[in-house]
């Protein structure tokens, strides 16, 4: 009886690993293709996209173009400033608003929640001209802070939508206990935040990817050379008839690196937040 169970258990574990390996292969194969081809000469990419770079086909032409043209280190810094800045603002403003919405019963709570989620229901590019005019009036064009504010505004609806749901699951007893001990509402907020660390980390990840990869708003609001983001810098290689595929692959491969690093940081937060609670009683 016991023998049969453990065997079936082992088979189960093996199957689980096989399934994961299979899917990982599917997920990672195209990404590897991109990276491999960023090291090949242009014709070699299309002649045989699946071949590893050989002595003949190996070429750093893409990376050379990226190094020589434009100012990619600067673009990276700009992208980092915009992304991290927006993430911090979304974190603070979003968590505070979600806390208020989930914690306090006040008139208009439901309506405000609905109001704050309207933003995800309309294509954001609709407001392009209006937004651009307003930024011109505010003097925020060609300014990274302007981009940060726009991305914050775009990330808030989703953040609040998801965070409210997770915050509602935090037990009331804990918060009431803190209040009885004399904690102010702000303190309660700070105490509650780590409890939804997984949700917070998830929101950060959700937002950082579209912000980092966004082409449209840097193009509209901050196209000047000094404030170009990495994605905007990479687009200059996409031509009407002739695109510099080497440079595109190289620049976007390089652009992947900071995001992967940020993802690893945030997903660690996610795990830490969940295991921090499992203290031995």
């Amino acid at each position: 009886m016991i023998r049969r169970e453990t065997l079936s258990r082992d088979v189960q574990v093996i199957l689980m690993h096989v399934a994961l390996l299979a899917y990982t292969a599917l997920a990672i194969f195209p990404v590897l293709l991109v990276i491999i081809n960023s090291f090949k000469a242009r014709q070699a990419i299309f002649r045989n996209p699946y071949a590893l770079p050989t002595a003949e086909t190996f070429s750093l032409v893409g990376y050379d173009t990226v190094a020589l043209r434009g100012n990619f280190p600067n673009y990276f810094v700009n992208s980092l400033i915009v992304t991290l800045g927006a993430l911090i603002l979304i974190f603070l403003a979003g968590s505070m608003a979600s806390f208020a919405l989930s914690e306090y019963k006040f008139r208009g709570n439901a309506l405000l929640g609905l109001y704050l989620s309207i933003g995800i229901m309309i294509p954001i590019r609709l407001g392009t001209v209006s937004l651009l005019r307003m930024m011109v009036d505010l003097g925020l064009t060609n300014n990274l802070f302007g981009l940060i504010l726009v991305y914050t505004a775009q990330g808030l609806p989703l953040a609040i939508f998801v965070l409210s749901s997770f915050l509602q699951e935090v037990p009331h007893d804990l918060k009431d206990a803190a209040r009885v001990d004399g904690a102010s509402e702000y303190r309660v907020y700070w105490l509650v935040l780590p409890l939804v660390r997984p949700a917070l980390a998830t929101i950060m990840v959700f937002n950082m990817i579209p912000i980092w990869n966004d082409l449209w708003f840097p193009l509209i609001l901050a196209p000047a050379e000094q404030v170009k983001t990495v994605t905007l810098g990479a687009q200059s290689f996409l031509g009407q008839f002739l695109s510099d595929w080497n440079a595109i692959l190289s620049s976007l491969t390089l652009a992947m690196v900071p995001i992967v690093v940020l993802y690893i940081i945030f997903s660690r937060q996610l795990i830490r937040g969940l295991t921090a609670g499992s203290v031995k009683l």
Binding site: Y23, A93, M121, L149, S165, N213, T231, L270
Partner: protein, 307 residues
Amino acid sequence: MTTPKKAFPTHIIVFLAPAVIIYTIFMIYPLVDSLRLSLYAPTPDNPRVEAFVGLANYQKLLTDPLWAPRLQGAIRNNFVFFIVHMLVQNPIGLLLATLLTSKVVRFRTIFRTLIFTPTILSFVLVGFIWQIILNPLWGIAGDILGLVGLDAEPWLGLESAALPVMSLISVWQFIGIPMMLFSAALLNLPDEIIEAARVDGATAWGVFWRVKFPLILPTVGIVGVLTFVGNFNAFDLVYTIAGGLAGPNFSTDLLGTFFYRTFFGFQLQAGNPTMGATIAGVMFLIILAGVVIYLFGWQRRIARVEY
């Protein structure tokens, strides 16, 4: 004992203010300002001047033979897009999350990071690489299918296949998101319950469906509504691969591409801000309907388990 005087809840205002202010100024105002264009139309005499026409644009969008087929096609395509995601992306995401939160699986972090990588990619890369893989001339799809005796077709160029294939590419790209949400929810479940159920003799399958799944129902709902909102707003992938005309023959046209093409114009076709705003208005109503159904039909109904 005196009842403590209810102090004015300034803290609520403080908590809400930054989000509401930034959101209203930089999102709501531009969107509403542009959305009101849907109630205007260029006057016949002077096309550069716009006059208030009420809901005439919406009527035109729904009935005019130039607009209605495009709108119906876009809505239908969006539903197909959504259904593919619900049937493929979310179940697989849930499966992956279950596997990745199971203690018996090793190297979980590496798997998790690798599986999440497609979500990090820019649309330009996703479009580029899948067009190469599916390319009839040098794509690998033909070789792989040849192994099982099937022929490769130029799917992205066929009206019947382009939309499902593009939906699958989108699933491939975004599966990391439900995977992450489900992981967060599953990890949040206390081990004691799972152990208790297992000690009681439940199989892994039983543990999942009788214990874990009911407890993560709130997350299942969130993933569903996020998929809905994300899919009905989808634009970038189709735009990158099929262009503004969402070929072949509008078979991959989503509401997002329909909106972009109309509002900003396409090639020689001048932009039509009033009809474009109308399409955005329709998108808003559709997505609002979905979210309202979620909020009042689902979220209120499922029991919230506080643990």
